[in-house]
């Protein structure tokens, strides 16, 4: 422990340092300017992405809101005086629709419209206007005794005319009716309850939505357990050898394989095994499950990896077996992470279009599917199909369908974010 002090060139060193400090000071402004520029650049990147997203959402919403409405005509109908031979009680029994039809409801409606606005307008009632009216009656049988004004959808030509497109004669008729307060756009709850149709006035999203839900259930039921189990295996037990390497490479690769190739797989394999289930959510779900599974495996592995080894050591040191360690400690702790990955994978599957085009889920299905094996479409494919429709009434419907899809995705993403924030742990 010497206290010796070296003297040597202390003065030189001080001089050199002074020079250095001056040099430093002279550059500092420039360096800080570069710093600010860089930071600004980085910030603008983030903001740019956020702006694009906002712009996308806003345009879609702006375009799509009209898609939730449809043109309807207000027709005064005196049911009491029309002599419909259906009792109010009959309406609460099955087959009421047929009874109303037999009783001449379509004609009553036609007649009432003719009376009110003339034959030309009456001809432009929607093809299923009377059905719409019938369901109003069924839900509210007391109407049968009243003289009231009902709202029913108009034909697609009329709807186009009302938008200011198509046939000029109809356009002027539409303007007349509008001036009388007989033609209006009304919120169309039925859009959320009906299935696909050729007439945009009649088209609804429920068929595709239900198809999507059924498909997602299959996807989840297959991809989640397989994905989680595979993740557990690879992360916790797999010995390091060629085989596990191959498994690992295939999983990572599958996560990046273009989705359309899964469509080709579904076409060649699943449809060969289950030819009866073309267009069915079962096949769609299986195809998407293969696509989603690697995503779940990868996120599952990350979640499992992030469980600190000290927890495993702790359990092992008490005498828990490796399987107990995983199922009692690791999996419960990794679950939020796994769920987040699953939701994100599912969200992607929900928006997937191309592979489903390959396995027949682009079929026109006029009734919502009633099970996993009945033909159906899914939301994104419906959007794609509608965007390709000739009838321009579908433009708004397409955007409305996009809103529905986006809402779904936002909810799913929100759930993932919630899970992540809620359960994010630091050990």
């Amino acid at each position: 422990m010497s206290e010796a002090i070296s003297n040597g060139s202390a003065a030189d060193a001080d001089l050199a340092r002074k020079a250095r400090n001056e040099r430093l000071a002279s550059r500092i402004q420039k360096r800080y300017a570069a710093e600010r520029r860089f930071k600004l650049l980085a910030l603008s990147s983030v903001l740019f992405s956020a702006l694009v997203l906002a712009f996308l959402l806003v345009t879609m919403t702006a375009n799509g809101l009209a898609g939730f409405t449809r043109a309807e005509m207000k027709v005064p109908v005196d049911f009491g005086g029309a002599g419909l031979t259906v009792s109010q009680d009959r309406l609460s029994q099955p087959g009421a629709l047929g009874a109303l039809e037999n009783a001449g409801l379509p004609d009553v409606l036609q007649f009432a419209a003719n009376e009110a606005y003339g034959p030309q307008a009456a001809a432009e009632l929607g093809a299923s206007a009377w059905r719409d009216l019938a369901s109003q009656l069924i839900s509210n049988p007391s109407m049968l005794a009243e003289d009231t004004v009902v709202s029913v959808p108009v034909s697609e030509d009329m709807a186009a005319a009302f938008r200011g497109e198509g046939n000029p004669e109809l356009q002027s008729l539409a303007r007349d009716l509008e001036a009388q307060g007989a033609l209006d756009r009304a919120f169309d709850w039925g859009f959320l309850a009906r299935a696909d149709a050729t007439d945009p006035q009649e088209a609804g999203i429920w068929g595709a939505l239900k198809g999507s839900l059924l498909t997602m259930i299959i996807t989840l039921a297959l991809a989640f357990p397989i994905g989680v189990l595979a993740a557990v295996y690879l992360e916790e037990y797999a010995p390091k050898n060629k085989w596990t390497d191959i498994i690992e490479v295939s999983i990572n690769n599958l996560a990046a394989v273009p989705s359309i190739i899964f469509g080709l797989l579904g076409l060649a394999v699943f449809l060969a095994i289950f030819p009866n289930y073309r267009s069915a959510p079962l096949i769609g779900g299986m195809t998407l499950a293969l696509m989603t599974m690697p995503v779940i495996v990868i996120s599952g592995r990350n979640a499992i990896k992030s469980v600190p080894p000290s927890i495993r050591d702790g359990a092992l040191a008490i005498g828990a077996s490796p399987v107990q360690v995983v199922f009692h400690h690791v999996l419960p702790l990794a679950l939020p992470g796994i769920l987040t990955g699953t939701i994100i994978g599912m969200a992607r599957a929900l928006g997937e279009t191309a592979p489903l085009l390959m396995i027949g889920m682009r079929a026109f299905v006029a009734t919502p599917p009633d099970g996993f094996t009945s033909p159906s479409s899914v939301l994104p494919v419906q959007i794609f199909l509608w965007s390709d429709e000739i009838d321009r009434g579908f433009v708004e419907r397409t955007s409305a369908a996009i809103i529905v899809l986006l809402l779904f995705l936002l909810v799913m993403n929100g759930l993932a974010i919630y899970l992540r924030n809620r359960f994010e742990r630091r050990w």
Binding site: D313, A315, L316, I318, Q324, H328, R425
Partner: protein, 270 residues
């Protein structure tokens, strides 16, 4: 173990004042892949004594400790040669189940690692998986007793359902000790149990170790010679994978036989 000192042999074989060895290691070598981390170490460990492993960083203290309850099995590259007898039975070669072994040889780690479960569940976990309690009330009894022995009962008895991770560092470490005690092991291994704790918590754990040694064989790894001097009755000094010297703590600290031990203790390296 390379015998640098012929006298050491007798010393390792047994202490005059102790009964038969609880754990007896014979020429144990540990390899990580190609690398030899422990070189033919032989040592006897006795019940009712605290044995401290000291030595500079990287000398193999932790490695050797973990071979004693086969926690090394979790490291794929690790390989153990030689024999380790627990009550005369070889824990590596015999048909002894590693799960049962670990129930008999408990372990406490450097960083307290309570499960992110309630305090109660932390303690009850071991008895549950080993089927040690027939009934809920029996389990309750085990939990209370373990916490009491670990000197934690008074502090946590009103909040057994709080998460174990919500405790302070020192409490967490005592919780981990209680967790190890709950399956009523015969040996407790501790790898630097206080190095993540503040001095007050450290003192509390040291006291606890002293209380516990009445029932268990305790092995503690520490990087602090002071701590070894305070808590242990036997000290083993490791260096570069060798067991350089093993003996009564008082002898090692006041009168080391080996030059290397002396240099280490007087701070010439480490």
């Amino acid at each position: 173990m390379k015998m640098n000192n012929p006298e050491l042999e007798g010393q390792v074989a047994g202490f005059s004042d102790a009964g038969p060895a609880k754990i007896s290691a014979n020429k144990v070598s540990v390899f990580y892949g190609e690398k030899k981390a422990i070189d033919e170490v032989s040592i006897d460990i006795h019940t009712k004594y605290v044995t401290a492993f000291i030595g500079p960083s990287g000398c193999g203290k932790s490695t050797f400790l973990r071979t004693l309850n086969r926690m090394n099995d979790t490291i794929p590259s690790a390989r153990v040669d030689g024999e380790i007898l627990l009550d005369g039975e070889d824990i590596y070669r015999s048909r002894m189940d590693v799960v049962q072994l670990r129930a008999r040889v408990g372990m406490v780690f450097q960083k307290p690692n309570p499960f992110p479960k309630s305090i109660y569940d932390n303690i009850a976990y071991g008895p549950k998986i080993h089927g040690l309690a027939e009934s809920k009330s029996e389990l309750d009894g085990i939990v209370e007793q373990s916490l009491q022995r670990a000197g934690l009962w008074e502090e946590v008895k009103d909040r057994l359902s709080d998460s174990g991770t919500a405790l302070s560092g020192g409490q967490q470490q005592r919780l981990c000790i209680a967790r190890a005690i709950a399956v009523d092991p015969e040996v407790i291994l501790m790898d630097e149990p206080c190095s993540a704790l503040d001095p007050i918590a450290t003192a509390r754990i040291e006291e606890l170790i002293d209380e516990l040694r009445g029932r268990y064989a305790i092995v503690i790894v520490t990087h602090s010679m002071q701590q070894a001097a305070r808590v242990s009755q036997r000290t083993a000094f490791f260096h570069l994978g060798n067991l350089v010297e093993y003996g009564r703590t008082s002898d090692i600290f006041t009168n080391p036989r080996e030059e290397r031990t002396k240099d280490y203790i007087t701070g010439r390296y480490g």
